[in-house]
Symmetry: C2
Subunit: 183 residues, 2 copies
């Protein structure tokens, strides 16, 4: 085993993320990250400031990943289809990485990385001629509903797994109609 493991903050965060995916939110401990990195626990402090800091870094990566996926999903799509694409992207991210849901509702960190996701949503809403405060309300409606569905699904919060796709399709339909009709 080499004296220098060549760790970086980024590698630590990547390891943390894979631990979250396999062991859940509560499974993320510095001890486990250190073990995965082949390093003693206190050594991690050379790269991150502690567990809260690591959590915040992981949260940023998660949010960035979701934002990227969402951004790509709406390329070349507009109107109702863009709304559906947005919602599908958000949900599918949490279906793929259910343990990451907890990082999407964290207390506001120093600099808010949610702005980027909001920007994508607002861009789509502009296709509905929704702007300014109207667009903010619409974005909240959109985010609330899709976040609610996806995080309940990720946590196993729905009784039955059956027909979840159909439920989600209907939810998207309701939202699309609501936004179109300017409720």
């Amino acid at each position: 085993m080499p004296r220098r493991a060549g760790l970086t903050a980024q590698k630590v965060v990547e390891l943390a993320l894979s631990i979250v995916d396999s062991a859940g939110l509560d499974g993320l401990t510095l001890a486990r990250v250190a073990e995965a990195a082949g390093v003693a626990t206190p050594s991690l402090y050379k790269h991150v400031a502690g567990l809260p800091d690591l959590r915040e870094r992981v949260a940023r990566v998660v949010l960035a990943g979701l934002t990227d996926r969402t951004r790509e999903a709406v390329i070349g799509v507009s109107g109702d289809d863009a709304i559906r694409a947005l919602m599908d992207a958000y949900r599918s991210y949490l279906v793929e990485f259910p343990n990451r849901a907890g990082f999407l509702i964290s207390p506001p960190p120093t600099v808010d990385p949610r702005e980027d996701l909001l920007a994508v949503v607002l861009a789509v809403l502009r296709g509905y001629r929704l702007e300014g405060s109207e667009a903010i309300h619409a974005a909240r409606i959109l985010r609330s509903s899709v976040h609610g569905f996806a995080s309940l699904e990720a946590a196993g919060g729905f009784g039955y797994r059956e027909d979840l796709d159909e439920s989600f399709r209907r939810l998207a339909g309701v939202i699309v109609m609501g936004l179109r009709e300017r409720v």
Copy 2:
């Protein structure tokens, strides 16, 4: 200080709940509950099986409280007003007790206490002539959207506090319309 503190499982859970309300989800520790009860930590094991058990008990109380409030909110109300009342009740519970939000998406315990809340929702939906699988989809739409909004709000997930009432009013409007129009 009397030799017997006269603790019961119920009192332990009540103390735990008030700690959650004041110190947050992560602030709930056996050590803190014991201190509040005027008892040594291991003594709690005479009443609850451990921290996971205590959490589950707290989750049940939270869900029961929400269910009660929701049930009362829809007494003597029907149709669109009932939907709005339902949504308002859910949200206002989390506005009042934001730290309890985390207990509303827990992995399914042994016996599922969410059935009661679902029953209330389904009763309201019957006022829309929504039954069977249609009602299940509608209930999920309702719960997803209100839970998403309320838990994002509770976690400070929205950038600005201003206009949250208006945003929620619009969300309710969208959902009511969607359910009415059978999307």
